[in-house]
Symmetry: D2
Subunit: 303 residues, 4 copies
């Protein structure tokens, strides 16, 4: 959700009419400690609600109203890309979890100020969340590779290249030895939601590496894996695998801040992530497949 | 390795003749940062050596000599149990990794001083490492369950009970719904090395839970898992799975400190972990299976 | 504030009528991030309010009503000591700040699980906050000394002794060389509010030590200090001095949890901190000085 | 110390002849844990030695030899500025301590990736260490002010301006109300060694701010301060004051990495910090005062 403020309550100080803002998605359970700290992304009871996903109306409407603690102000120069704050917030939480875990457990991190700089990072799945994760990593000068299964000449790999990332066509990897040609990665961010691939990527994780999964696979189909090899390597190489879902208000803020930085470093480039915009009356068109030239499709509700 | 000091070099200050001490197992690669910090347990090159395991002679001999930075002094009152410092160090590293990760990422931890107190913890595999992990958790007032597949009347479950742990007989769990009767756990420590079980235990992990694997499964047999369900839950519940291997000098120190505490809280109880002692000339006997009354078998080299 | 719940709103789940509970003191500014995270103790704008202190009515009344996020449930067995949760929360925040800072910056902490155990700690000022800080430290097996300027035979030093602390009579220290007889401390917790002493205590801080100040000195009288010596030692010994004020809801929870532990380890002892109780109609008596046999004076509002 | 490698031992892998490198200054005590972790900057016994400062010969000679763990390789493009690695390492440790403390204790930091970005930072004392601290802060996009008592047109303020810092002439501040015109700072880095100023700077620290002192004041002259005001604000505003001395090998590495980044962002600019170079035979000249056009004076030992 991204929009322009038309009115605010008497005590609101964060925004005023005319400003732009986004609202977060999840609303806390009201009882657990993380929710009491505005960190409903870590809700312990599972009794949260989510606007447009679970238990609460979504934002597909011209006007929305919500409480100030769920809002993040968006600078006017981000007017064209503010709608990306929500998918970006999911990437921001994943990145932040991965980095802070490593800051804690790697013995040499206490003397580090920019751990991501120069680190080998792999982003799997170059949809909006994956590409925004790559953007976040490139802003911090990581060495970023992006994995997908489309032609290198299409929009997603091209968008990645322009921020200095390297595209890896997964169709050309050896299924048994994927890292033979791509090396091992200090950080892996997954955003495909394909369970088999999610396990395969463990093959590409470096010693002491951290692998954060954001894709939510559907179904319950059985999977054949070399379980002993996966666990043996996880142990012998001190690896971390973690799941990351949703995002707190602060992660939205981190996303918005990164969008500003990205606008300075790669002017006009972020807006290219939005490949299609449709008026809400044409919502049918928005749900049609746009082929390999699609990254993010946006539905416009403004009058 | 545990022994009594017979002589020390001129500059050694840590111990003197007559003291007891243990030596750590791994020796650093000499090039990576963790090894330069005496954290060879996190060696980044894989070029470490290990006494008795990889590239260096072990300790099965009457006299050993090594450098001071690899030694940890052991108080005289631990004479009977000092040999447990090595397996305990593996549990200590696993515990310490798990706790520090959670201290970092759980939003309410910055206001916490004893996170383990009252937490639901599961230890899988009640060999020496598992039971010592349980001991470490009980010293910090965690609510500890221990999982194995032996009769509740045998020595391992009985040892666990006496420190206030609850025994779970894995043979009585429903394979499909293991947590139906045991609930979900905030912390899981695995010490079985059985790959299939290592994946199954993910079913017992609570929201925001941390699961640390220390068992190293052998072989490469294919495993059938419900991969989508595992990954979906990992993501939706913000779970962490991590591998932990070996231990640094500081983890040996942590183990030795815990042995002292345990001696105060449960006098004489730790020594019962050592169920069999054999003179080195009878090494054959040490390698025979001692049945369900065995926990730790020790080979004595002292004259 | 400590009381018994007589009624709750429809959506309240934390407590029900008959339960005991405390309310926190500070109410957030509504705009800064810490306040948005229920950490108004770290409010960045200074625009918070405090019940009974600043901008809001206090709790000196028979019935109070407030919102659930500001409440902490207190177990029935703490009925006699629940009123101590508030001063204890101030000590809990100070301890938690000090410990977490050291966990971050001391290189060997990543391998530690109970940093306070065995550490030399000094508590200055044995009023309720100081004695509760000492209690918190002793629960974690720290080596605790308490400094005050009363006779060792009076109630405060005696209370400290019974939990295993050592009393230091500040009147017997050399003003110029206070640490000559007491050694240097890894942790200092100050709760006197006397500015001159607050600076003097820096003399007693060990290498790499942390010193947390909670006492708020009044006035603006000029002070003569050996500034060069203080700063030189701060730098050369990597010391930390920090201020800590107020407490978040989570610190109240930490305090309540510690009260339960203390009840197990030193039964009935905590209640002795409350040396005088007065009915509210006798409030005059509560404000009279009770001499050296006073620790905490409580005003009773219950019918 | 900065030089070119002429020969290496048989097992050295870090550098080879022809490479450039620096050696660290301090050598550990051999007994405490930080020293065992190559963190002698945090030595707990005080029994360390320092090349050229305490107990060991310095580097004022044509050829030096030392052990690999004390060396950091320097890229050839840093040949002109490698000698700055040592003063920069002191700034790097100070910055890293300050940032990591805040990462731990500020409630919203767990969701942050670049805390320094946009933060108001003050560097006091624009000698080499101060200016390199400013460089490190500017590389991380902090809002940096630098305080000194020289004309704005001289080399030090000018150097600061060119990396985007703001110069504050301390002679124009009101001694009683220094922050009236400069505002409050989230981070203060001190590098003057003047005790009175070190205390005065506390006036400029923001709520929740961190202030790291690196300057070591000489003498024992008494100082008149408003002690109650300083401590009252420290407490009420949750401030941290910490000392930072020396630097570990990892901080040298951080410094060298930053020099590379600085070379990309402000080409040729760092070399301007070295305002004077003298052949070692002219060492007299090096010790003469060069006036306000001096920043760093270097003695050349190369043949």
């Amino acid at each position: 959700m991204f929009g322009q403020v038309v009115d605010v309550g008497r005590t609101v100080t964060l925004v005023q009419p005319g400003d732009y803002a986004v609202f977060t998605v999840r609303r806390g359970c009201g009882t657990c400690r993380p929710c009491a700290m505005n960190r409903s992304d870590m809700c312990r009871t599972g009794l949260y609600a989510e606007r447009g996903i679970w238990g609460l109306d979504g934002y597909q409407t011209e006007f929305v109203v919500d409480h100030e603690p769920y809002a993040v102000r968006v600078a006017p120069e981000l007017e064209a890309v503010g709608v990306l704050a929500e998918p970006f917030s999911v990437a921001a939480k994943a990145m932040s979890e991965a980095v802070h875990l490593q800051l804690t457990r790697l013995p040499d991190m206490a003397t580090s100020l920019d751990w991501l700089s120069g680190k080998r990072c792999l982003v799997a799945g170059l949809g909006p969340i994956g590409l925004l994760a790559a953007l976040s990593l490139r802003l911090r000068n990581a060495d970023v590779s992006g994995l997908d299964v489309v032609d290198a000449s299409t929009v997603r790999p091209q968008w990645l290249n322009r921020i200095g990332g390297h595209y890896i066509d997964g169709r050309q990897l050896s299924p048994d030895h994927p890292t033979d040609h791509i090396g091992a990665f200090d950080v892996i961010v997954e955003a495909t939601g394909m369970a088999a691939l999610e396990f395969d990527l463990l093959d590409a994780l470096a010693i002491n590496g951290v692998y954060v999964v954001t894709g939510i696979p559907a179904g319950d189909r059985s999977l054949n894996i070399d379980g002993a090899k996966i666990m043996r390597r996880l142990v012998l190489q001190n690896q971390v695998l973690l799941g990351s879902v949703n995002a707190s208000r602060d992660h939205f803020q981190l996303a918005v801040d990164d969008l500003v930085q990205a606008g300075t470093r790669w002017p006009h480039h972020v807006a290219d992530l939005i490949t299609h915009r449709h008026a809400y009356a044409d919502f049918d068109a928005a749900f049609q497949h746009h082929g390999s030239d699609e990254i993010k499709v946006v539905l416009e509700w403004a009058a």
